[in-house]
Symmetry: C2
Subunit: 124 residues, 2 copies
DNA sequence: AATAATAACGCAACACTGTTGCAATAAATT
DNA sequence: AATTTATTGCAACAGTGTTGCGTTATTATT
């Protein structure tokens, strides 16, 4: 069977995302990582971390992908709101807030991606 | 002042989006439009239609941008849920459903982008 | 209806984002 | 230490979106 290995690049990138208070895009991670590894490797590491469920992917209203480690509460939930600042373009997880919604019963739900945009506390 | 003009390409593209029951991406519109106009023109027309507030932009969980004309109810609201099918990749507006949520008061809200993903009625 | 002003267009070129194949490297197991 | 193979780097490619500029076509004005 296919196992997963922990490499220097993978741990370093996980640390970057872990220690950031905003969600990071691939290009932001690339800048932060410097010459840690090739940019293709960053893509592959991000994919793996998402599959391993230690980070999650967020699409901003402009279609840019960002990655964040969410606070794991009692049971981990991706069912929370993200805030996307139109001014500084930062994306943050609003872990405390859980949206309430319903969909028609013939739809089956596998995941949610809720993003509210506007101005964050720093930019208001 | 800068005025807006109605051209054949613009009306045709608006018709395409209008008559589609799912949200359309740029490339889908390009295929449907054939040799109606250059692909750069499609980008510019989409931007204008969004600014004119007759269509709205949706980011799928994979960061792909799609465009749709939403049903205008009594007062037009972009504050509804979109459904993104993981199988057929279609995006539809669930106009009837309005999510309930709260954000901390130091955030100011200008827009929302709520996408639920899973399997649509056709793919369940 | 002809003219003038300029929004919109086509084309070419570019920048950014993400993917794939393959040989080389390094992590985990024996 | 040797073996297995997951992971990496590199090169090349594909898709997505943008910009500049000369030309075309829409709209308003005469």
């Amino acid at each position: 069977m296919k196992t997963t290995r922990s490499t220097t690049a993978k741990t370093a990138i996980y640390e970057l995302i872990m220690n950031s208070d905003v969600a990071l895009s691939h290009s932001e991670i690339q800048k932060l990582a410097g010459d840690l590894c090739d940019r293709v490797t960053i893509y592959r590491i991000l994919d793996r971390l998402v599959i391993e469920d230690v980070i999650h992917k967020i699409a901003t209203p402009d279609g840019l992908l960002k990655y964040a480690v969410c606070q794991k509460t009692e049971k981990h939930s991706h069912n929370h709101i993200h805030f996307s600042c139109e001014n500084c373009l930062s994306v943050t997880c609003l872990d405390a807030v859980e949206p309430i919604f319903e969909v028609p019963e013939n739809y089956s739900i596998k995941g949610v991606n809720f993003t509210v945009s506007g101005f964050c506390p720093n930019c208001s």
